[in-house]
């Protein structure tokens, strides 16, 4: 497929992996920020190809995973309310709240619908003026422009039966929180390419300089990730700590300026709770006061819904890269995709789900050695 198969070329991948192994004089610990990158790494076995040169620890960049439990509980409360349609990206539906998930609410008569864009939710509101439509606006900077656009358009069109339950988070404060932790092991970052498509990468430059870590803006295909790893290894070996852009086909230093402008117009920075991690100052986006009419928390008085996370879930340690999913005592036993304790086991971007679905749990962490590979050639 044009623009994809080129970035999955087996020969080039092997050559890049070989160069990474040849360049590294030791094992470097690096973190890919985004859950989409985690899935490519585990699904394609990139960590096997670079074993010995690079240890990948998986970052907090799964929007579903870091959405705090209390926001999930608020969504569940909204969905159960008569006269309300809760719209959400499909990924959120299986995420466990304190009592149940959105699928279970739907089975009990709640009105929950999967949409592919917040603008579809707005359209639903316009077509059903007697119903309150709420969109569950989660995600990093990547989804913020579309969500901002939905609110902006709602106001422009005078739609009053539409609101958003906002749980936006931003990447740089999370990186700062990880780097300033005393037990931090991360020596370089592969920054999330799509976040940078919107935001650019100038805000990473002071982080790279202050903490002396290379930060490589990286895409999501196997060759993107391998090239990003190679760029990071070269900097680490040379003692450099710069921001470099691997994802040049999508990212400019200043990002997408109209999108950023819109986000800034609709949202402002706020302290935000991260599921499994805790509160990170100024790490979230909230609706500005002038858009308060579109804030579902205020509209439906949800401020008093609070939640406590289950103690046996180690999702926070996974999201901070402190442990690999297979090192969690609940992994694959107490916690499975069928009965998840934490969101990383559910989301298609969650690290635990990646390890579970691609079978790492059965083989102690690494992909199964395909002993039969030679006879399996077809």
């Amino acid at each position: 497929m044009k623009y994809l198969s080129e970035y999955r070329h087996a020969g080039i991948a092997r050559a890049l992996a070989k160069e990474i192994r040849a360049t590294a004089t030791r094992t470097w610990v690096m973190m890919e920020v985004c859950g989409g990158q985690t899935h490519t790494i585990v699904k394609q076995g990139l960590d096997e190809l670079t074993e010995g040169a690079v240890e990948m620890v998986h970052g907090p960049g799964c929007p579903v995973c870091v959405t705090p439990l209390e926001q999930i509980d608020r969504a569940l409360a909204l969905a159960a309310r008569p006269g309300v349609v809760l719209t959400s990206f499909g990924d959120m539906l299986r995420v466990p709240g304190s009592e149940c998930d959105l699928f279970q609410i739907r089975a009990r008569g709640g009105n929950v619908r999967i949409v592919y864009s917040p603008l579809d939710a707005l359209e639903l509101a316009r077509k059903n003026p007697d119903t309150e439509v709420v969109f569950f606006a989660v995600g990093f900077e990547t989804t913020a422009p579309a969500n901002a656009m939905a609110v902006y358009r709602a106001r422009e069109l005078g739609v009053t039966n539409f609101s958003v339950l906002v749980s936006h988070v931003t990447v740089p404060p999370a990186m700062l929180a990880l780097l300033s932790a005393p037990d931090n092991r991360v020596q370089a970052f592969l920054a999330a390419g799509h976040v940078c498509t919107v935001m650019g990468y100038s805000e990473y430059e002071p982080i790279a300089a202050t903490y002396h870590v290379p930060i490589i803006v990286t895409g999501f295909e196997p060759l993107d990730l391998l090239e990003g790893m190679l760029m990071a290894v070269k900097q680490l070996e040379a003692g450099d700590a710069r921001v470099e852009n691997q994802y040049v086909r999508a990212v400019r230093r200043e990002g997408n300026v109209p999108a950023r402008t819109l986000v800034e117009q609709v949202f402002e920075l706020t302290d935000r709770q991260w599921r499994g991690i805790g509160e990170i100052p100024l790490s979230g986006l909230a609706l500005r006061e002038e858009f308060a009419d579109y804030d579902a928390v205020r509209k439906f008085s949800l401020e008093n819904i609070h939640a406590t996370e289950p103690a046996e879930c180690h999702a926070g340690d996974v999201l901070r890269g402190k442990i690999k999913p297979v090192q969690c005592p609940a992994f694959g036993t107490l916690c499975t995709p069928e009965r998840p304790l934490g969101a990383p086991m559910v989301s298609s971007e969650g690290a635990c789900a990646a390890y579970y679905n691609y079978g790492r749990f059965r083989t102690g962490g690494m992909a199964p050695a395909v002993a039969a590979a030679s006879e399996a050639r077809v």
């Binding site: 989409g36 699904k43 059965r362 395909v370």
Partner: protein, 363 residues
């Protein structure tokens, strides 16, 4: 049926009140009425005017309480399936095509020759009769091309809001040929894993139609009777056939996991060998789905002994439906119950069962 009777009485009452008499056709509605399921004249008219001419079956035309058929076979295969797809019509087919092909294929996957079908309709009051006509025309066409006769049927009508347009149940009966008995527990180490065509078209088409997604590509359901492909395998592989399955819900990945578990063998797939049409691959990329888990309605997975794999692929490719048939992997003795994929770039991963439906991701 009191509500159905009431429906007719109301209509009759209305006609009397309007000063009309019985010379006027009893009903000229262009939609399904509760009376169509009453067992009365409307029901009879529905069967006589709409079902019998299309299905054209001697057994059905007898209108007895049961169809009487005779068969010369050691054993028969019976399968039943209910179809509730939404939307009712979609590119490449409709609920009727699925209802015939789906059950025909379930029977065929046992190695049987599908012969007869029964059809049960549950219609929602208000369904446009033209939709019903299109669906039954498709069923008749699908049955003809699969070589099965629709021999018995039933129709019920439920009040508006109690069904999604229509539901269809079909039961299929086929004659077992004792020299061709595929079974999911027969896979052995060394066997070749064949898929008979490109995967994922049906599931992605339905999802796109249901959600109003517009892809700039030609996507259509692959719904088809697999009988020609089963014939090809019967002729080329014969008694040596191991397993046959049509990977509908859950896709190729789930089907292979089921066979691996039943046969207590492992499987190794080659990512690069799996035929995924570009439009399906593109849609999966956009939605964050994996084509291996997407439903198919016109593809089957065949496990055959290694020395017969080339023969089987050649025979399959000789049929239009099998022109993209190919070997996608091998059965191995290692890691029993586990399906492993060698990725295009040389890594490996496990291809497991999913806990539920695939869900589109956030970004």
């Amino acid at each position: 049926m009191s509500s159905a009777t009431k429906g007719i009485e109301e209509q009759v009452g209305a006609r009397i009140a309007a000063g009309l008499n019985c010379a006027v056709p009893f009903n000229t509605s262009d939609r399904v009425l509760l009376g169509h399921g009453s067992g009365g004249k409307l029901s009879a008219a529905l069967v006589r005017d709409r079902f019998l001419p299309k299905f054209d079956s001697a057994e059905l035309a007898q209108l007895g309480d049961a169809a009487v058929v005779s068969v010369e076979s050691d054993a028969i295969a019976i399968s039943t399936d209910s179809f509730v797809v939404s939307p009712l019509e979609f590119p490449g087919g409709n609920i009727g095509t699925l209802a015939v092909n789906g059950t025909v294929n379930d029977v065929a996957m046992m190695g049987a020759r599908p012969l007869w079908l029964t059809v049960g309709f549950i219609l929602e009051e208000g369904l446009p009769l033209e939709v019903l006509d299109r669906v039954t025309a498709s069923m008749a066409e699908a049955a003809r091309s699969a070589g099965v006769a629709i021999v018995a049927g039933d129709t019920k009508v439920v009040e508006r809001g109690k069904a999604d347009g229509m539901f269809i149940n079909t039961t299929g009966v086929g004659a077992i040929d004792s020299s061709f008995r595929p079974s999911p527990e027969k896979a052995r180490a060394g066997d070749a894993i064949i898929v008979t065509g490109e995967i994922g078209a049906h599931g992605i088409t339905i999802m796109a139609a249901r959600e109003g997604l517009e892809f700039d590509a030609d996507l259509a359901s692959d719904s088809a009777a697999l009988t020609p492909l089963v014939d090809a395998l019967r002729e080329s592989v014969g008694a040596e056939i191991r397993a046959l399955r049509d990977p509908t819900r859950g896709g190729v990945a789930s089907t292979l996991n089921e066979i691996a578990a039943a046969s207590r063998v492992g499987m190794v797939l080659e990512e690069g060998a799996i035929p995924v049409p570009t439009a399906v691959a593109a849609a999966c990329e956009m939605l964050g789905l994996d084509a291996l888990y997407v439903a198919n309605e016109g593809v089957c997975v065949a496990i055959v002994p290694p020395d017969l794999a080339d023969l089987a692929v050649t025979a399959l490719r000789a049929r239009p439906l099998g022109r993209n048939a190919r070997v996608i992997g091998r059965v191995v003795a290692e890691h029993p119950g586990m399906v492993v994929m060698r990725t295009s770039i040389g890594g490996t991963r496990v291809v497991d069962m999913l806990p539920g439906d695939q869900l589109p991701r956030i970004c």
